[in-house]
Amino acid sequence: MGYENDFPMQQIVDKDGYFVREDYKNKITRDLVLTFYRHLIRVRAFDRKAKNLQRQGRIGTYAMFEGQEAAQVGSAMALKENDWMFPTYRDHAASITFGHSLPTIFAFWKGRVEGGVPPKGKQIVPPSVPIATQLPLAAGAAMAEKYKGTSNAVICYFGDGATSEGDFHEGMNFASVFKAPVVFFNQNNSYAISVPIEKQMNSKTIAQKSVAYAMPGIRIDGNDIFIVYFETLNALERARNGHGPTLIEAVTWRYGAHTTADDPTKYRNQEESEKRREFDPITRLEKFMKNYGYWDEEWVEQETKLIDEEINQAVVDMESMPNPNVSDLFDHIFAEPTWTIKEQKDAYLTHLRGEA
């Protein structure tokens, strides 16, 4: 029964910031470490800003990712320019790292359809809101890359709860059958809103679900950005070389509520949740940097300042977007609007002009 024994959790750097895998020492450069760090503090600052904007009523409901930064940043950093990303509503750290624009993501939560538009030249699909529906899409996008003969790959994010949906299994099976170049990147934060993973599934790991689809699976410490980065890189490499999909389970934690509309004290002890900061991905990297001589106080201060400015500017940009365009309601349903939509648009604009 115990397939979980086949999937022990992998780490490169432990919570105290020390190598547990000495063999990785020579793969790590100063540039890589600083880039990890910069992305991590940047996305955390973004997330906290978004949460505050929601509190002030400047954006709508928002889904925080604090605690999950290493899983998202490390995996996104492993991508190449022309790869595809299928994120969920909680994966802005991944999409930002991959090059999404900050004002666009704020706009998504401000109820603006412009929030779904990918940055120029980047394949970032709008965040999937209906759980697990993105897995078959990701399999298909990967099948298309394979058909076209490129070496591009696809990464698809989803949570622990998502593995209960049929679409999870169907997407995994398609990718497996067609050897599609896709990495299924699971963030196991142990909760689907209020439902803890023990009630979500009887299997002890998510990685073991790869067995059923005869694809490689691995369980990693999602708060260790090193293992996240290197294992995603491996999986992408396999995908690019025609060896098909991989399932990665990154074990992580969200400290806060499911979204700003959720009250986590209904279903768990938030003091216990805060204790998880002992495993915090950013603190861990800081310790690592101090342990191994990468820490430079001045550089950190300077980067923090630059990031604050960038995020404040993003808020300004989001808030100075032109008012939403009523025509957008009607103009993007079809390439050519049907007669019903044309008539409805005319009637509505006439109404708005007060001429009805």
Binding site: G60, G111, V195, M201
Partner: protein, 325 residues
């Protein structure tokens, strides 16, 4: 009697029936410990235990499919779909099993199932949380669809739905959840499925709606009164089977009609209502029937949702169009 909001009345309806009949179960995502994301099932798991108020895995097909199996096997499940916009994975289970089991077995197996689903726009929810797709279900043979707009009706219709021998989709306006309040009797009582109700008497025109559109109709009627137009307001309450008598009786008196729904125009329920009027009251009509509905476009991201939803102003324009035809 107690004064309850719409959502409290729904909770009260579930509690009443959980007490009354051991076969009644509540299941869905986050309905147990969390009490539901809207708190509709607040306190029920504490009161009735984990075997009767069940947190399920995250799977709509699983929730509805297993509920169908339970219903075929003697239980009376109340399945919650967290938002109507997330019902689609269960569509197949509803269309091919819930609605057909009675027919396929000539009644040997039946599916006395209630599916609760919050629906509708207007609360600044993230995308896909605002759908109003009742017509996808009224089009299915074999499932009834109800949509209350008052706390009294909510509890009474829910109890009727639970005791109905066939599947019922119970649509809950999330916009009305806490914005309406009213007197609700203690204990068990029923509001008959298939019966609309007249909310206001009037002479000149009939306004027809349900759920979240009722306050919109009421505001439009007040505007109309200022212009000396007297509106009769009908709350359909049941969307399948529609109460054709209440519609016919009213439009035969007024000769004019405005139908309002937030769902898209094409294939929307307004068209079925028009056909009822056509069949029952054609010669009584003094003006073409007006519809005020969502357009044939997606319920938008919330920055534009007020431009999607019918407003009292748009209803007023339709009233005037019919009156001054």
């Amino acid at each position: 009697m107690q004064s309850l909001t719409l959502i409290q009345a729904i909770t009260d309806g579930m509690r009443t029936m959980l007490k009354e009949r051991d076969e009644v179960l509540v299941l869905g995502e986050d309905v147990g410990k969390n009490g539901g994301v809207f708190r509709a099932t607040e306190g029920l798991q504490e009161e009735f235990g984990e075997s009767r108020v069940i947190d399920t895995p995250l799977s709509e097909a699983g929730i509805i499919g297993s509920s169908i199996g339970m219903a075929m096997n003697g239980l009376l499940p109340i399945a919650e779909i967290q938002f109507m916009g997330f019902i689609y994975p269960a569509y197949e289970q509803i269309m091919t099993h819930a609605t057909r089991m009675r027919y396929r077995t000539l009644g040997a197996y039946t599916v006395p199932l209630v599916i609760r689903a919050p629906y509708g726009a207007g609360v600044r929810a993230p995308e896909i949380h605002s759908d109003s797709t009742e017509a996808l279900f009224t089009h299915m043979p074999g499932i009834k669809v109800v949509c209350p707009s008052t706390p009294y009706d909510a509890k009474g219709l829910l109890i009727s739905a639970i005791e109905d021998p066939d599947p019922v989709l119970f649509m809950e306006s999330l916009r009305l959840y806490r914005s309406v309040r009213g007197e609700v009797p203690d204990g068990k009582y029923k509001v008959e499925i298939g019966k609309g109700v007249k909310r206001k008497e009037g002479d000149d025109i009939t306004l027809i709606g349900w759920g979240a559109m009722m306050p919109v109709l009421e505001k439009a009627a007040i505007e109309a009164e200022k212009k000396l137009i007297s509106c009769e307001i009908i709350d359909l309450r049941t969307l399948y089977p529609i109460d054709k008598d209440i519609i016919a009786e009213s439009v035969q008196k007024t000769g004019r009609c405005v139908i309002v729904h937030e769902a898209h125009a094409t294939g929307g329920l307004g068209n079925d209502i028009i056909s009822i009027i056509n069949d029952t009251s054609f010669l009584y009509m003094k003006a073409p029937i007006q519809r005020v509905t969502g357009a044939d476009v997606h319920v938008p991201f919330f920055a534009l949702e007020d431009h999607y939803l019918p407003t009292p102003h748009r209803v007023m324009e339709a009233i005037e169009k019919a009156i001054y035809f």
